[in-house]
Symmetry: C2
Subunit: 393 residues, 2 copies
DNA sequence: CCTGTTTGTGCAGTAACTGTACAAAGCTAC
DNA sequence: GTAGCTTTGTACAGTTACTGCACAAACAGG
C-alpha cells in the first residue's frame, strides 16, 4: 500500500553478499541486483579498492557452467572490517568476532560471578577487550542484553530478569570501551534479526519471533526487513498477553499472562515441579524436555499445556502483526518440535483471516542467534552506507 | 537501532511540500531538506518544467523578512495531477477531489440504498465517475473501505460490518473504473495515515490510532512514517484485545473484547440502551454524547466505563508498539475530550516502562480523515517517485 | 579448431546533484 | 536616496554514481 524508494546499489550489493554468507558468484549478484554486468564491474571495483572484497578469478570449482564462461567468485577480503559481538545473559557473558557474511570466530564464554551491576559490566567489558585485542580493522561492538534497551543510547530502564534497577548500560559500557563504537540491543530483538537474515526467518515479510531463555520471555517482530522497535525501542513486550483468564496470577496484576504460563518456570510448574532454584532451572528444564521426548507422561502433559498457551499467545501476536512466519527460539523451539500440531492448531483457529496452517511455524536455526544479532547491529553502518564506513583507499 | 538510507531529494521535496499543505517558502523548503540553495533551484526547476509547481516571485505577503531578501513562494500548480478519494461506509458513500497538499474539493456524499454487494459497488463507482469527470490530470483513485483489505490487490476477506462475505473488491472496482489506477485501503489505516501527515499525529515516531465508526472498532499504527500493514495488509485488528475478563461475551469466543466494550453498541449498552436499531445507532450515540457533555448521570457513567476499557486496550497496544502518540478518531475522540483523565490514567498505569502522561493522547483533527487518507494512498506514487509519474514536459 | 554460450571489461555518455562566486531584493540608517 | 547589511536566488563549472554498448575472454561440445 505504501511503496519505498530504491536504495543505493552499493549498499544493496554489500547486503546481498552478507546475506549469502560472504561468498557468491559475480553472476549471482548481478542477477540479484538486477543490474548490468558493467555496473557490477564498477561496484565490485569500488569495493575491491576499499579492501572490502577480493575476487577469485580461478573459477576452479564453478558449480553450474551451462556451457558459458564460469563466473568469478566474490569473497569478503581479509582486510575487511570486523565486529565484536557480545551477549549478556542471566549467568554468563559471551563474546566472539564476526565478519561480513556472519561467520563467527574466537567465541569465548565466561560465568558471571554475580554481584553489583558494575562488576557484571566490568566482566563483560574485559571479555570484549580480550576478544577485540589485536583485531586489525574493528568496526564496532554489538551487545545483546536481556532487558529492554532504549534505541537512542542503550539505556536499560528495567533489567528485571537480572534483578537490576534502571541502568545506563550504554554509558557504562562506552566508558569502558571508549575507543570503539558500542551498540546495544535487546537479546530477543537481535536473535530475531539474526534468524531473519541468516536463519529460519529468511524471506519472511513479517516475522514474529518468540523465545524463552533462562527466566522470562522475549519477543520481536521483523517487519519488511527491519526490526520493529517502537518509538523508544521497547516494542513487542509479549510477556503480558493474556492466554488463560483462569491462569496463574502475574506480578503485573493480571492472570494467565503468556510469560507466566510458558516461560521456564511456567513449564516446570505445569510439570508439577515448582520451586526449582534459579541456578538449576536451565538444567532441570533440559531434563524435563528430554523426558517429554522420551514419552514420560507428566512431562508430555506439561509440554502439551504450555504448547496450547504458546499457540494462544502467538495467535494474538499474529492478529496484531499479520505475520507470515513464526520462529520459536530457545526452549520454545524444542517444545514446538515435540508437539507442532498443538501450537499450529491454536494459531490457526484463533487468528482471524488466516486459514489454519497458513503461517509457517519453525524452530530457530541459530544456536547463537543473540550473539549473531549483536554482530548484525554493529555491522549495520557497513550495510547501510559502505562508502562512508570504508574510508577511501 | 537500524538506520535507513537517504532518499532521493526530489521525492523529499515533493513530500515536504505536500505535508506543508501545498504552499511553502523556498527558503523554508531549503531548510527542511538541509540542502544548498543552488540544489533547491535545480530541484524546483525540474518540478516547474514538469508542471507540478508554480513559483510566486512577488513575495508580497512575506511573513518573516529579517531584513533580507524575501523568499519566493512555492505553490502546487494548476496543472499538477489530482486524485479522487472515495470512502465506503456502512450507510453512505463519499467522494472528493484532492490535490497535492491535501486540499479537498467537490466533496459529494450519497446514502447507500442497501442491497447486493454489486449494487453497492455500482453506486460507489458511479459517484467516483461523477467526481472524476472532467478532471484533467487524474493520477488515480484511492478508496477507504470498512473492512480488512489485502494490500496486494484490494481483496476484502471479510467485510463483517457490511454483512458481506469475502469480496474481490479491488477487482470489482477496477472493472468499473478500468481507465484509472485504483488503490484500496482499510478506512482506519487510511484515517491514521491522514492524521499522521496532516492532523494530530504529525511528527510522531510511532502513532497508534483507534476509532469507532458506525459499528465496530478500527485501529492502525504508523511506524516511522509508514503504515504498519503486516504481510498481507491485515495487521492491527485491535477489536479482540481483552480489556475485561469479566466483560461481555464476544462472538469470537472470548469475553470483554475491546470492540464489544467500546464500540457504539458497547457504549449504548453501558448506558442501559441495548437493542437500538442499526440505522439509528449514529444518532442515538450522538444524543448520548451530548447528554454526557451536559452532565446527565447515566450518560456520564457510560462514558466513564467505556473510557476505562478504552484506556486498558490502549495500554496493551502501547506495550506492543511502544507508541509515542495516541490519536482517537470518531466517537472515541469525543469520549476522550469528555474524560481525558480516565483514559490517560489507565494508559499510564498499565503500560510498562513509560511514566504516566508520557504518551500524548489526542482526538483526531480531521473530520474526513478516511477520505483524505484514501487520497494519500492514490498520491503515494507521486510522493515516492515524482519523476516517474510526471512524464517529462 | 570452430561454434555457441555465458561472462568480464573498457570506455564514452548521462542524470542528478554539489560548491562557489555573484547578483538581486528587501530593510534600516543616515 | 543611497550606502550598508542581510538574506535569498542564479549561473556555471565540476563531481559522483551509475548506464549502455561493443568487444574480448573463458569454457563446453562437436
Amino acid at each position: 500500500m505504501v511503496a519505498v524508494a530504491q536504495e543505493p546499489a552499493l549498499s544493496q550489493l554489500v547486503r546481498n553478499l552478507h546475506l549469502l554468507g560472504g561468498s557468491a558468484s559475480r553472476a549471482e549478484l548481478t542477477e540479484l541486483l538486477g543490474c548490468r554486468r558493467s555496473v557490477m564491474g564498477y561496484l565490485l571495483g569500488e569495493l575491491t579498492d576499499r579492501g572490502l572484497i577480493a575476487i577469485d578469478r580461478t573459477g576452479g570449482q564453478a558449480a553450474t557452467t551451462d556451457g558459458g564462461r564460469p563466473s568469478h567468485r566474490v569473497l569478503v577480503a581479509d582486510t575487511a572490517p570486523t565486529v565484536v559481538a557480545a551477549q549478556l545473559s542471566a549467568d554468563t557473558v559471551t563474546a566472539a568476532r564476526v565478519g561480513l557474511g556472519g561467520h563467527m570466530s574466537g567465541r569465548v564464554e565466561r560465568t558471571l560471578p554475580g554481584g553489583a551491576v558494575t562488576d557484571t559490566v566490568d566482566t563483560l567489558c574485559e571479555l570484549i577487550n580480550e576478544v577485540a585485542g589485536g583485531v586489525p580493522n574493528l568496526l564496532g561492538i554489538g551487545v545483546a542484553v536481556p532487558s529492554p534497551v532504549r534505541r537512542s543510547d542503550g539505556y536499560a530502564p528495567a533489567a528485571l530478569h537480572l534483578g537490576w534497577p534502571a541502568v545506563p548500560l550504554g554509558d557504562l559500557m562506552r566508558e569502558r570501551l571508549s575507543e570503539h563504537t558500542v551498540s546495544l540491543g535487546n537479546d530477543a530483538n537481535l536473535a530475531a534479526l539474526a534468524e531473519y537474515r541468516h536463519g529460519a526467518g529468511r524471506g519472511a515479510a513479517q516475522l514474529v519471533y518468540l523465545a524463552t531463555a533462562h527466566v522470562g520471555l522475549g519477543g520481536a517482530v521483523v517487519s519488511e526487513g527491519r526490526l520493529f522497535l517502537g518509538a523508544r525501542g521497547y516494542a513487542i513486550e509479549p510477556g503480558h498477553i493474556t492466554v488463560d483468564v483462569a491462569g496463574q496470577p502475574c506480578p503485573c496484576g493480571s492472570t494467565g499472562c503468556l510469560e507466566i504460563e510458558v516461560d521456564h518456570r511456567g513449564l516446570l510448574r505445569a510439570a508439577g515441579r515448582s520451586g526449582v532454584a534459579l541456578e538449576a532451572i536451565t538444567s532441570v528444564v533440559a531434563e524435563l524436555m528430554a523426558a517429554a521426548a522420551a514419552g514420560e507422561p507428566t512431562a508430555v502433559a506439561a509440554v502439551e499445556q504450555v504448547g496450547r498457551h504458546l499457540g494462544t499467545g502467538l495467535a494474538t501476536l499474529v492478529n496484531i502483526t499479520d505475520a507470515d512466519r513464526i520462529v520459536l527460539g530457545g526452549t520454545l523451539g524444542g517444545l514446538y518440535r515435540l508437539r507442532p500440531d498443538i501450537v499450529a492448531d491454536q494459531v490457526g483457529t484463533r487468528s482471524f483471516l488466516v486459514g489454519a496452517g497458513a503461517i509457517p511455524i519453525m524452530p530457530g536455526e541459530l544456536p547463537d542467534g543473540e550473539l549473531l544479532g549483536a554482530a548484525e547491529l554493529a555491522l549495520q553502518p557497513l550495510l547501510d552506507n559502505p562508502k562512508q564506513v570504508l574510508t577511501t583507499r
